[in-house]
């Protein structure tokens, strides 16, 4: 009520002094806070007519347009054509075609959730096979838009990375984002699932809106199996079903314009992901991220010991003896070795570096953790691979003698 009174007073003041840009913007801010976006937009346009470089006005205007472009409000009486004509010569297009230069943040609040990634594929040790596949299925087309145009293809749709836990799927997604110079927007299931009815669906919509506002943007969904679980596997009363429907709607090219939004997902259990989410236009490309190869293992060990006092560590020898270990297992080995060295230093009163002896002792304690994952994967390969979707996994398991 008090807010309404303030808005009324400010509106009167703006009418009295139509050239007071600051006053007008303050009013617009209050209107946005009250959810009266259409009115706020009129004031933003008026402010921009007077001061076309006003960044606050631009930012507010984009917030208003984003809010208004989501579900259309039938009761709104705002004249869109008139507003568009008013601002057409003032505002530059929100998204530029070229991916060059650092990505822009269109909304200050988005700064909290978005981060341009500084990781590149070159920072990922080993795993050449996965990098090659990423290059062919995603990065190549994005880097060569003229080729895409020539072949009449688009980079729409998403890419799903799957494999045992702790093998660097998230890191790879960050590297993809860094390669194309896009904002990186990581989403965990805690960003989406909420207890109140309807709020999870709203969260899904808001996430995609943020990504669209900040294109080019890599929208990375972690644990897609928990978020987009097979609806057929859900118990009858699961409120989760509507979240999958919301995800389907947002990734549907017929109803949503996701130009410049690259959707990446990671999952340990692609077989539990709803089949509709894997249809063309959604997570239609799938890449298996297996256990780190020897080169990757050496790189991981080097990375985890890089800022610690070490002496005589031979990453290659460690890599040779850790076939079957995940990246997380290797990190665990490095941490355990560090703890052993620390404990010894505390006992002797003399600080000593981490040595190969500590690594060997740690390796005796830690077993590879991916075997349980491969047990389930074996079932999938044996019983659930009629369409050949898991041929790559089957080949990998045969080669690694997991079958």
């Amino acid at each position: 009520m008090a807010e309404d009174a303030l808005i009324r007073e400010l509106s009167a003041a703006v009418e009295r002094s139509p050239d007071a840009v600051e006053l007008r913007l303050h009013l617009a801010e209050l209107l946005v806070a009250a959810g009266r976006y259409a009115e706020a937009l009129t004031h933003c346009s008026a402010a921009l007519t007077q001061d076309s470089a006003n960044t606050a006005a631009l930012s507010l205007l984009q917030r208003c347009s984003a809010a208004l472009s989501s579900p259309p409000d039938k009761s709104a009486t705002f004249n869109w054509s008139a507003a568009e004509e008013q601002v057409a010569d003032i505002i530059e297009p929100a998204f530029v075609d070229s991916g060059d230069g650092p990505p822009d943040m269109e909304n200050e609040r988005d700064l909290d959730v978005l981060a341009p990634s500084d990781v590149k594929l070159a920072d990922v040790a080993g795993m050449q096979n996965v990098k090659d596949r990423l290059e062919v299925s995603l990065l190549g087309p994005i880097r060569n838009p003229e080729l895409m145009r020539a072949y009449k293809v688009s980079a729409r749709g998403g890419l799903l990375l799957y494999g045992p836990p702790g093998c660097g799927k998230t890191f790879l997604a960050k590297a993809v984002s860094g390669e194309i110079g896009a904002n990186f927007y990581p989403i965990g299931i805690s960003d989406v699932l909420q207890q109140w009815l309807g709020s999870s669906e709203r969260a899904v919509h808001e996430i995609f809106e943020v990504a669209r506002r900040n294109a080019p943007c890599v929208l990375f969904f972690d644990e897609v199996d928990a978020l987009g679980m097979r609806r057929a596997n859900m118990r009858g009363d699961s409120g989760h079903r509507t979240v999958v429907n919301a995800l389907l709607a947002e990734t549907d090219s017929a109803t949503s314009d996701n130009t410049g939004v690259y959707v990446l997902g990671a999952t340990n259990a692609p077989w539990d992901v709803d089949p509709a989410l894997r249809r063309p236009g959604r997570f239609d490309r799938v890449i298996f991220v297996g256990l780190p190869d020897s080169e990757a293992r050496a790189g991981i060990v080097r990375f985890h010991l890089s800022d610690r006092p070490v002496a005589g560590i031979d990453p290659k020898s460690i890599a040779a003896r850790t076939d079957g270990f995940t990246g997380a297992d290797l990190a665990h080995i490095c941490d355990t070795a560090t703890q052993l060295a620390m404990a010894d230093s505390a006992r002797s009163g003399q600080v000593r570096p981490i040595s190969m002896d500590d690594i060997n002792a740690a390796m005796d304690q830690i077993r590879p953790s991916a075997s349980q994952w491969f047990d389930v994967a074996r079932n999938v390969v044996e019983f659930g691979n009629r369409d050949g979707a898991y041929d790559e996994l089957a080949k990998y398991m045969r080669r690694k003698r997991f079958r």
Partner: protein, 344 residues
Amino acid sequence: MSLDPEINSAGNAITLANAYMEARNYGRAQEVLGLALTQNPHNATLLTELARARHLSGDNDVAEQSVVRALALTPDDAYPMRIYASVLVELGRRREGLSWARRAVDAAPLDHTTHYEYARLLTTTGDAAVALPVATEALRLAPANADAHDLMGVILGMLGRRAESTAEHEEALRLEPGHARALANIAVNRANSRNLSGALTGFREAAQLDPHLGDEVRKNITATVRVWLSWTTIAAWAALWISVRIQEHADAASPGARIVAGLGCIVMLVMFGWLARSLPRNLWAPVLRQREFRSLKIYLGLGVVVLGVLSVFALGVPVSYWVQLGALLLTVVVSWVAPRFDED
């Protein structure tokens, strides 16, 4: 992805944990609940959910600690009671577990889940007759619950009422077409009715729907193949026995013996053909690697050695007798223990 530090609302934490548990990611569910419990240490629902996540991941000792704390906070709540009951049965304390399940039913007699859980625990301990009225009550309270129909099917199957059992499983499938467990249970009924072809198809479809059933399905396929093997062996033995008998009482080149032996071969070929058609090639190796077949191979090997030794030391005895004896031994070994089909 790090866990959101804002999981401060118990409700949100439970929503997340349930999503993780549905995705069988029990470790993450425990992390979420543990984080929420640091901020709400006396929340009984969080404690109960944590106990459930631990129970589902097989850590029943620690699950017991959480659920006991939850029960201390809400001693009349049926939900922790039934989780506790399930934990106790898993820990081998069957009588205590059933008593807590019974208590949960008394605490919430109109809640179908308490009846369901009590009936389920009774079936795991083999008390199908006692479980039947309890499951009936669960179904009366929730007639559209697929799990309850499936459980009823299991109980009826245990009581030998196979047709009714299959009907219940089919009803579960009608209510939830993705109910892999119901599909697997229908296949078990088919196998027990010696519809081996239908059983093999059912088992494979169940594992295709839910790969987590793979181990159990592989075991059941092995049991099905063993039934087939015993039939084939009996056919082979019968053909051999008849042809040897005919040969003993006629000329060496008796056409009767040849016809019988030929028919025996045809029967065996047909059976092999059926198996090759019913069981995809990629499943042969996994099935033969099963423990049941490993022991079978050992027994067969021993049988051959024994037979060889006897032949060497008893050259005067007609070979035909040893052939018959061998075939008989094979039959006994193959059908040594009637194959058992796992159902849940």
